[in-house]
Structures are given as C-alpha cells and as structure tokens.
Amino acid sequence: MRISARHITFLFAFILMAASGLFYSCTKVININLNSASPLPVVQGNINNQPGTYAVILSQSVNFSDPNTFPPIPGALVTINDNLGNIDTLKDSIPGNYTGHKLMGTPGRTYTLSISSNGKFYAAASTMPQPIAIDSLTIQNDAFSKKNKFVVIHFQSPQGAITYYHFVATVNNVTQTPIFAFSDEYQLGNPINFELRSPNDSLKIKSGDTVMVQLQSTDQNIFNYYTALFNAGGTGFDTAPANPPSNISNNALGYFSAYAVTSKTIIVP
C-alpha cells in the first residue's frame, strides 16, 4: 500500500481525536451570545465540460442563532463569459438559482463570473483544466472497524504540472456532503489510488448501494478553497478557525469553479 502525505495528515487527525476521546470529559450545550453580522452573499457557481445546464446559486448568510434557512438572492444580474468573448446571462426561474446552457464548457478556457446585486458587484475567474480519465473504482474494507466499507478511485496522474482534484460521491442518487480535495504534487506521473474516506466517516456505504464518483479536475484556487472547507468541518485539530479563501471578489463567500469532469459507477458487493 502506498503511503502518501495525505495519510500523514489523517494520522495526526486520528491520533489526536482518539487521544482526546480517551480522557474523561463532559460536554454540554451552552447558550452563547454571538455578534450579528450583516448578511453576506454566498455564491456556489459551477461550470463544467459536459453539455447541458450550469448553475450559480446565490444565497445569504444568516446569524448564528437563526434557523438554518438561507434566503436566496433573486433578481441579480449574473453572467458567465469565457476568454474568447462568449457570454451568457443566467436566469433564475427558481429564485436564487441562476441557470444557463448557451456556453459549451471547454478545457483550457478561463471563465469569468460577474454578479451585480443590490448595487454591489462581485467577480470570480476560474480556468478549466483538462479532464482526467478514471481507470476504475473498487470497494475496500476499513482496517479499524472491519464492517465499514469505502470506495477507492484509481486513476493516472499526468506528468508535468500539478493537477488538482475534487471528488464528489453520489450514493443511490443522493449527493454526499463529505469533501475530498486532492493534489498530486508529490506523486506526479504515478498511478493513484485515492480513498474516499474522511476522519468523521460520514460517507457510509453498504452492500447493494450504487455509488457514482465524479472526478473533477479544478484549478488551484478551488483546491485551496475545498481544502480549507474540509478543515473547517472539524478534523479534530481545533485550529484557529478562519474563512476559507474564496476566489470571489468584494467579500462574497463561496466559490466559482470551472472544472472538467469524468465519472464512474460501481455497485457495492
């Protein structure tokens, strides 16, 4: 089994979580007064190399004590253009959910997202890399608790420049929320077996499930964003929290990603 730098990071996370779990400690829910911040726009923008619809979702942040409903931002002017002058204006038939299909996402091009809403202007740029072929998917058993299974995706890292990956898993057509961001910096040109596991084990699969894994190759900004988002989910380190580095200007939260996608499906035996 190949050891990678990612294993090292997991090692730290596992050890420290286990260590803190071994000690006697009490937890309780507390009431805490947190400041309110004025709502900030949150952008989830994606465009890929598949024909069809692409979407940019605009919502707002809320105060900590509010319920988890995040109001959409309707009526904004949202456009995406590529570096060859093609431009599309997206429309929100569902408020806050802006879609378009005019542009054909092409690897190598740089896409720019522009948003104008409530008198403020936000922009982001993302360059779509080349797609990476998936060799296969396999299912393996967890060494720590033998009942748990996880998916491994096998692919070949291209020689030369670093490729950044974002894996998204769907189980029985339900998109799973754990984040998998990876960089092949230390394994350029090698075959890679990436395990879709996270320290808090939230990607659960069992026999009979249909699992589809998307391999998104993204630019470095999006890799940095998803890596920070993954750490924000709590890896047991208690690091001083901070906002993930968004590639959107003017203090908007979220991301805009132009990625090339390939996918494969497996049924868990």
Partner: protein, 780 residues
Amino acid sequence: MSLFKKYVILITLLFLSVSSVFSQNKFTISGTIKDSTTGESIIGASVSIAELKETGTVSNAYGFYSLTIPTGKYTVTTQVIGYSAQSVQVNLLQNTIINFNLSSRSTSLKEVVIGAEKKNDNITNPEMGVEKLDVKQIAAIPVLFGEKDILKTLQLLPGIESAGDGNSGFYVRGGGSDQNLILLDEAPVYDASHLLGFFSVFNSDAIKDVTVYKGDEPAQYGGRLSSVLDIKMNDGNDQNYIISGGIGLIASRISIEGPIVKHKGSFIICARRTYADLFLKLSSDSNLNQSSLYFYDINIKANYELGKKDHLYLSGYFGKDVLGFGNTFSINWGNTTGTLRWNHLFSDKLFSNASFIVSNYTDNIGINFSGTSIGIVSRIQDYGFKYDFQYYMSDVSTLNFGLNSTYHQIVPGEIVAENNSQVSTLNLTDDYSWENSLYLSNILKPTSSFSLEYGVRLTAFSVLGPGDFYNYNAATGQTLDTTVYKSGQFVKTYINPEPRISASYTLNKVSSIKASYARNTQNIHLLNNTTTENPTDQWIPSTNYIQPEISDQVSLGYFRNFVDNTYEFSIEGYYKQVQNLLDYRDNAQLEYNENIESQLLFGQGRAYGVELFLKKKYGKFNGWIGYTLSSAQQQIAGVNNGSWYNSPQDRPNDLSVVGIYQASKKWSFSATFVYYTGNPVTFPSGKYDVDGNVYFYYTSRNGYRMPPYSRLDIGATVQCKKRKNFEANWTFSIYNVYDRWNAYTITFQQNPNNTSETQAIQTTLFGIIPSVTYNFKFSL
C-alpha cells in the same frame, strides 16, 4: 547610541567599581553553605557582616559565597528562609574559608527564636520580576489528582498565568508558552508536559530550587522572550541512605538517595509512573483494553567532591509518554536531558562552572494497518557547552561573565516505513543552527541603600546548511526562490546585543523601589495555532526568512514589608514590546509541511500590566494573594486587516489565593482559589450554506473570549506517628470543590436532534475530583 559607545560606558563603570579594591589591606572569606542533615547545598543564602552594615553577598547556585573585606574582627552570619541562622566569629588576618551547615527550621513554629531576624531580602535584592518557589512549601499545595506539581504551583503567582485546564504551558506577562526557557540543571527542556498537558515533567521529590525570572533575567540567561524557569535538582543526601515515595490514585513515585562517600559525594534517583491505563484494561471494548496511556520519568543525579577546589556533578532526566489505541496506532514522546558540570575554584574570589549539556525532545507516531507499519519521527536535539565565571571582585562588586555555545538540530519529520521504498521522499528537510553567546554583568552595591545589576549578553545565531532555503512572498505565501546550501555552510548569522539592567533603592528597612530594563532575543520558535498544545507541535529555528523575535521590557516596582517582615507586599508594573512576532495565516497548514515558513506572518506585539502580591511567610497560617491586571495585543500584516488585536495570551484579570494552615504538628490544611478571564478565541458571527453543508462565518481572529475560569481546591495532610527511621503522611485533596464546569473548548455544530439549528457545545475536562496519596520515607 552605538554598540561601541555602550561598551565604553560599561568598561568605565567597571573600572570605577574596581578602584575601591586597591585602597586597603583586604582578605577574602569564602566557603560553601549546606543543609546540616542532608548535605544539600543551599542556594541564595545571604551572608552578612554585623560590623559592616553595607557588606553582604548571597550564596550562588552551588552554595558558594565569597566576601572580600578589610582585615579585622567580625561576626559572619548566614541566614535563609527555612533554616536557623548561624553566626561565626572571625579574626580576619588572611583569606579564610568558613563553611556553614545550617539546620532546617519550620517557619510555622509559634515560638520566636531569640536573635533570629526575619528575612527582608525581597526589599534589598536588586533583582525584580523574580519569583522563587520554596519547594518544601509547595509540598502542602496539592494540585490535580493530588500530585504536587511545580509548574502548576508557579502559575499561582502573579504575572505567571496558566494556559488553561489540561495545559502545562504558561504565559508570563502576555507572552506565549514557547517564550519560556525551562532549564533543568542547565539543560533546556522543550516540552514540559506529560499526557497532553495534565502534568508537568518535574517530579517535585527531585527538585531543590525553582526560580522564575519574568523577562528581566540577568545576562547569564538568554534565548527566550518572556521568562527563564531555572530548576535545580537535589544533589542527594550525603550522610544517610533515604528511600521515600508516594502511592496515589493516578501515579506513584519512589526516590532513593544516599552518599557515595559521606560528606564528599552523593546520588539521587527519582522515578515516577502513572497507571491510568490499568483502568482501560477493565473495558470490554477490544480497542480500549489493548490501549495504553501512561507516562514515566526518571531523574538521576550524582555529585562528587574531587578536591577542595573541584566538584563534579552529573544530572540526567529521562521521560516518556505513551498513548496507544488498540494495536493500530500509537504516539509516544519525551525529553531526555543530560548535564555534566565541573565547578572549579580558581581562587577564593573566582568561581567557575563548566557544563556539557545535551537535550533531546522526540515524538514518534506509529501506525499499523493492512500489513503496513509506518512511523513518523520528529525531534529537536541540542548539544551545548557553557562556561560561567563569578568573580567576587570586592565588597561592592561581583562580576558574572561567561560563554554559551549550543548546536541545535531539528528533524521536523522523518518517515520510517516497512514495505515502502517511496516514502523517504516525504521526509522534511532537517534544520541545523549554532547559537553562541557571550555575557558580562556586574552586581554593584555602592551604598547600603542602592544596588545595581547591569550587563550585556551578545548573541550570535547562525543558520547552517545542508538544506534548501526558500524566500516567500509574505502576502501570498508563494515561493519566490530556493537556494541550496551544503553541509556546514553558513546561511545567515543574526547578531543581537541584549542589554540588561536592574536597580533597587532601599527607602528604609522595610521598603524599596526597583526598576529594570531588559532586551531578549528568541531564535527557536514553537509553531502552534491550535487552542490546545500537542506533542507534535513543531519547533523551528530562525532562518533566512524568519527573523529572530526581539523583546524590550521595562518594569518598575514598589516593595514593602509589614509586621517585622512577616508580610511581603509588592506592586510591579511592566511594559513589553516585541518585534518580528510570529503568527499564522488564515487556514495555515502547519502539519507536515516542507514549506511551513510560507504559513507564517510577522508583525509586532505589546503587553503591559500591573502585578499585585501580598504574601505571609511566617506563622501557623501563611499563603499569598496574587492579582494581575494586564493586556497583550499584536499587530500582524495579513491578520484582521493589520489592526491591533488580542493576543491568544491576553488575560485582563488573573487572581490566585493560596492559604496553608499548620493546625498542629499532625494536621495541615491548604486551599487554593483561582479566577481568570477566558482566553481570546475566534468564534463565528454568522453561518451560510455551501454544497449542502452549513459553514460558519468569522469576522475577526481572537474577537471573542472564552467564559471566565474559576476553581477552588482544598487539601489536608495528616502526619502518621513518626518512628525511628520511618515517616509517613496521608494527603487528601479535592480538586474543583464546587464542581464548576470550566470550558476547555467551545465548538459549533448542527444540532443533531434538529438540523435546522446550530448550537454551541462546551467541553469540560475536570469536574470535582477527590484524591488520596500515601507518602513515606525510610532512612537507613
């Protein structure tokens, strides 16, 4: 003022003080001060001449003193707290050696011993910002789990603040935990905590003396910005064999000491181990019952008097913590230190000590699964040589000078694996550096009411190859260039002079004012951006990119004793400024990162405060109250838009109250109360949704505070009937008597019972914990 001018002024002052030496026929009284029962040398005993009110000195770290006065008939008296004073008559016609063997005397005896004067050297000593812990006194203050702990007791003094529950780290005057130089018999100890911070590595049975300098230490110390914690081990009883120890709920300890040759040499071995993991073996869960959780430490010391002028000391410390989960992974870490010291008296007035020092801190992570086992090692290793001289030049002046050379090797991460050859490419580059210092200082007492200690320490820190050295864009962290250096090549040398000066003016027998200024440089930095300390936190030296951190501190204090020196009161104010202070980028990746320097940001810091202290030293009831009002902030380019923000160590209010009551010869009681403001922390100010998950939004780093911390502990010790060669006592204690759930961490999550809301979860480490320990001592 240029460096050269500073040196000229220093030399001139020295000559002025030397000139008084040549005016009369003078002789030297010198000798060693020891405990009459155990043979332990006594540090800091004052030696005075009744007939010469302005003359006096203090025994040094090895119990040696020297006083040069004109020929005549004198009464030489030595006294120190915890011992009966002793006087000797001498007709001084030639250099004379007078050794003292003092009998220990409890300060709680009701009857007044005729002629015994209570000590007021807190008034007359020019050193300020110093705390000395009487190790015998802390025996009455039990802390967590009933185990006595020097570091935790120190944190009950003003200006020295606990980093929090489950944390042996401490903050001195607003500085971070890595800004404290911890020395055990002169060897630096890099991680002074066991079990992720619940205990310190110091077994108080092995310790003789603990002195803390809060930033204004004399010139013979250097290397950290905020404090020096100088801990000296016991030498061992040089007359009788003693076996002592204790059995407690969590840990047990044993000490064996005795003479090598009576009155000439002795040894001591102290060992301690916890057995918390025995409880894990009772679990039915196979992961738990194969887990391990323990630490041990061993202190060894031997000393031998080679002749009247030479004495050899050998000290060692070995400690290890082991944490293992099932048989799949484990982590262990520990310090090893060793010191070989040779005292040599060149003359009655010139004392020297040469030390050879090694210190090593290593942590090992091991993982075992799917037939593969890999380990990650990281370590810091020091090899050092120190040569210190004390020249008791005249009755008004003592010169301290010397040199210190230390070679540091840091292995940030090295992978050891079976079945995998590719792994060595993941090793991080090792760091090599060489730290050299020279110092010279003078303790001058020109009149009976004014004393001055001034000097300078000159430090040269050299960054060495082999390795790749990078430069980064400070704003983005991108690597700008790489330079490769070969083994032994000098990459960069930082030279920093550190002036030190402190003065005391005695207003009258019971009060004085003191002032001091010190500059400190720090070239070894600990990287940690978590709310708790981890054994895997990495040490990093200054490099071509990381500049030395430099602090300047001024302090001013008023000291007053009451009721015939029974009560000591002081109020000390300080102001400290730090340059090249380190902080971290948002989302810094510090774990196993070859380009870890790219995650650092630099700026400045400032801290100021007032420390109030009232202590009762004598009588059946004694103790102290310490209160610190302070502030620590920093300004770092790239954090909080470059505005000043609270340092993680900012602690506006910190109160400690300690009381010890010796009810009778059999029973003593103690109580400790602490209260302090919570540490600055980063909490969310909002939340939002990305890709189906809720994330929290942060407006500023350290913009919030943890809730305040408070705790009351009580303890009682009952002495068993003393038999001929055997003593024992039982210590009962209750930690956190009113069971306050102090916050260890506060985290935020979606409510598992209601995913439409988020909640804050507080974790507490220690509720109310009772404990009992049995302590024993055999004399053979």
